[in-house]
């Protein structure tokens, strides 16, 4: 039978969203560094900041999933 909860599916979808989002950010950052290696430090800092924002959105969904589970 089906075990687990629908909330877990929601959290999993949030993880997909985070993965795609941060993957795109990483792709853009790596391409930027490839084009202009001397800007690597700047690009890295901006990448990390943008990744934190995308991560936060995914974690909003995880929080809702945890609330729905409990």
């Amino acid at each position: 039978m089906v075990v687990g909860s629908v909330a877990a599916i929601g959290a999993g979808l949030a993880a997909i969203g985070a993965g795609i989002g941060i993957g795109q950010i990483g792709k853009g950052a790596v391409e930027g560094i490839a084009r202009q290696p001397e800007a690597a430090n700047e690009i890295r800092s901006n990448m990390i900041v943008a990744a934190a924002f995308v991560e936060a959105v995914a974690l909003f969904a995880v929080v809702v999933a945890l609330l729905g589970n409990g």
Binding site: N41, S45, I48, V49, A52, F53, E55, A56, L59, F60, V62, V63
Partner: protein, 381 residues
């Protein structure tokens, strides 16, 4: 400061913390779940008792007990600090040790003070003679206890004051014209980083100085609490920044500072967006008003979710050892947990920085001078 000096600073801090986190390697089967990351309480001892009774290891319960607040601070083995319970009832204040609310088996017990108190699902409630909850009396019960999170906040504020005040005293003695010595040389790059990379780009050079104390306070408070949450043993190990009440308080302060320091142009942009047709202005007003509230709410949830998710992750990995019931699972779980702990270290820095940067950005947006040419309006307004 240059990125290189901040990088070497981060390398040094990472090494110190990875050494601290490597103490998780000593988690054994007989020892209570190595309190990795979030909280250690009387419950690991209760788990040992409970495990002998039922033979069942409840992962969710263990993890949640380490994330949540508690009345006693578990130190090691069976030793806990039983923090005081402070209650305001209709008959006045009552203070007693939280050890009186648990019996030898770590189950909630009834304590008879002015009323009979019992911990129901972690909350102190008033019960009558039969043990049923007296809802009316419990509604008038205010719980001001010193819980683990409160005590940990005292510890982190103490650390904050000691570190920053001694750095400030150093400047009072030598002045800003000579090279910094000792603790100052550690704090100065961080403080200059907050000023030059966070405050000035967002608020502008003229007004940044006014908001620097606020921004530095939230930065260092969040940073120190994040770090203390990563250390598994006393005085760390309480999940303060992963407590939604703590992050909500910080978000409320950001809300107050932003809206009190906002100028007329800011409110105009919210309620009557210039440069648009009047129907668009009416349409945008409620959306912008909701935005005024959702920005601090997102700050609150971002910090809470990131820190709590990190703690849950490390705890789940350590609980793997107890799910597989073999000490050899620690060969996989502990290195993985240390690795995740290092990522959590980066997250600790990053979340403090993001919170401070967004606060500075909101303050900057609120105090920005209005540019007349920014809205394509034909008439001068």
């Amino acid at each position: 400061m240059t990125f290189r000096s901040i990088k070497s600073l981060l390398v040094k801090t990472f090494s110190v913390f990875s050494l601290l986190l490597a103490t998780q390697a000593f988690a054994g089967e007989n020892h209570a779940p190595a309190p990795a990351g979030a909280g250690t309480e009387a419950t690991p001892a209760a788990e040992a008792h409970g495990a002998k009774k039922e033979g069942d290891f409840n992962v969710t319960e263990t993890i949640l007990e380490h994330i949540k607040d508690d009345h006693s601070w578990h130190l090691w083995g069976h030793t806990s600090i039983h923090l005081p319970v402070i209650l305001k009832t209709s008959k006045g204040f009552e203070v007693f040790s939280s050890g009186k609310l648990v019996d030898e088996h770590h189950e909630p017990a009834v304590y008879k003070g002015n009323f009979e108190y019992k911990l129901i699902e972690g909350k102190t409630k008033i019960v009558d003679a039969n043990g049923n909850v007296d809802v009316e009396a419990s509604k008038q019960l205010w719980d001001f206890s010193i819980t683990k999170n409160v005590a940990s906040l005292f510890v982190s504020v103490f650390i904050l004051l000691v570190v920053l005040l001694s750095a400030a005293a150093g400047y009072k003695k030598t002045g800003v014209k000579s090279a910094p010595k000792g603790l100052q040389s550690f704090m100065e790059p961080i403080i200059l980083f907050v000023r030059d990379e966070v405050a000035i780009p967002n608020i502008g050079t003229k007004k940044a100085g006014k908001y620097m104390p606020f921004l530095l306070t939230i930065f260092f408070l969040i940073l120190i609490n994040n770090f203390l949450g990563l250390i598994p043993f006393f005085p760390g190990g309480a999940n303060v920044s992963g407590n939604i009440a703590f992050t909500m308080t910080l978000a409320v302060f950001v809300f107050i500072v932003v809206n009190v320091s906002a100028n007329k142009s800011y409110w105009e942009h919210i309620f009557w967006m210039p440069g648009m047709h009047w129907s668009m202005k009416l349409f945008l007003a409620p959306i912008e008003l909701i935005g005024v509230f959702t920005k601090p709410i997102s700050l609150m949830i971002r910090l809470f979710a990131n820190i709590t998710a990190g703690h849950i992750l490390v705890l789940s990995l350590i609980c793997l050892i107890f799910i597989f019931k073999t000490v050899f699972a620690s060969a996989i779980a502990v290195p993985f947990a240390v690795f995740i702990g290092l990522i959590e270290l980066l997250v600790a820095f990053l979340q403090a920085f993001i919170f401070t940067m967004l606060a500075a950005m909101y303050i900057g947006m609120a105090t920005e001078e209005h540019h007349h040419d920014a809205h394509g309006e034909a008439a001068h307004h």
